[in-house]
Symmetry: C2
């Protein structure tokens, strides 16, 4: 009983503190005092701070990538040999995220912020870990995106995927702060589910925008459907 209890308490505390303050700004002493365990417990159970970071991600990402693979399986079998649409592909992603069993009400938002930090904050070891652990699923998602946007040139698709990733990672990485601002300014509360529901149509519209490469400053319209 002692073992798993300590490990979980460390993971819970670390997850929350990392999401709040980033990785380098969170010390092991903050984590262990929040978790009410001894300082040495982290190195005893995980080996190092970096390994703890990996464990925090693995605890969420391993079941999530399994769920996502299943969702992709269903999507592909449902579509037969037709390619899935862009909306279907993006929705498979967001719905898998939302349906994950959550430890508490903040579960998703904490983890979205962590993912954003992982992408933004240049932690070499983390990126390597995520890539070799979950790269396969990520590449499958990219393939689906490609099949869903056959009208785009490879170059256009490449850049627009970067735009999508940017909007997502950036928003999620600061979503707590943004939500706070929104509540103060407009008096509205927003859940992560709602943000995702707003993000998907934004991204889908952007991905399918008509090219306006030749329109420069002086000119006028960019036709958008």
């Amino acid at each position: 009983m002692a073992q798993s209890d300590t490990v979980d308490r460390i993971l819970n505390a670390a997850e929350e503190l990392f999401a709040d303050r980033g990785f380098s700004e969170t010390s092991l002493r903050m984590i262990t005092s929040k978790a009410k365990v001894n300082l040495a417990a982290v190195n005893y159970h995980f080996g190092s701070k970096n390994a703890l970071i990996h464990a925090v991600f693995a605890r969420f990402l391993t079941p999530f990538s399994a769920t996502l693979e299943k969702a992709f399986d269903e999507l592909e079998s449902k579509c037969g040999d037709k390619p899935a649409t862009l909306d279907q592909t993006l929705s498979a992603l967001t719905e898998s995220a939302i349906r994950m069993p959550q430890r508490n009400e903040k579960g998703i938002s904490i983890f979205m912020r962590l993912l954003g930090l992982a992408y933004t904050q240049s932690q070499g070891h983390l990126r390597k870990f995520l890539e070799q652990q979950y790269g396969k699923t990520f590449n499958r998602f990219m393939r689906l995106l490609k099949e869903a946007t056959p009208q785009l040139s490879a170059v256009d698709r490449y850049w627009r995927i970067q735009f999508m990733l940017g909007a997502t990672a950036f928003t999620m990485s600061s979503s707590d702060a943004l939500r706070g601002i929104l509540e103060n300014k407009l008096g509205v509360e927003t859940t992560v589910q709602e943000i995702a529901a707003r993000l998907v149509p934004f991204l889908a519209a952007g991905m399918q925008a008509k090219d306006a490469m030749l329109v420069s400053t002086a000119g006028d319209n960019t036709s958008v459907a």
Copy 2:
């Protein structure tokens, strides 16, 4: 001669290292050794590490916000009492950024990445500094965006602006790396100007996307006007 030389070398080194590694991950010793100046020079000339961070931002943002204010002046006088379009507003921004005199070829991309870090990394002091220093210009930009998208609710507009900022900051921040990948994979060269030209229609399409809020996963919807 000694003075300005040291100050500039510190600023140049700090700018590059911050963009590469983030603020907390960059030590004063890294900065001073890259700049080939004494460690104490930072505290002598700037007072503290935080003040150095502010100075790095101010060196770029102060002339940029002046350029931007001028661009907005021209835009508003050109449009008379009609509101400027979304494309015009976004283009005023990107063109002002592109036209800024740059210290070197990496100028823009480095600074875009810094802006992204400032937003993502929870450095309270930085956010306060930027807000009180350049909040006026930022609010003017927000007002233009508001007038350019009267069809959006305040909440929708708020989130979509966050998505735009994310896509922009994220893409620009790593545009050097992304450009390299693109050249290797597809054999195409891309300039920052071309990326901006691709980004603007993507953003404009996203901003003007039809809402799909009622498409929800399981049961409940999230009512937001």
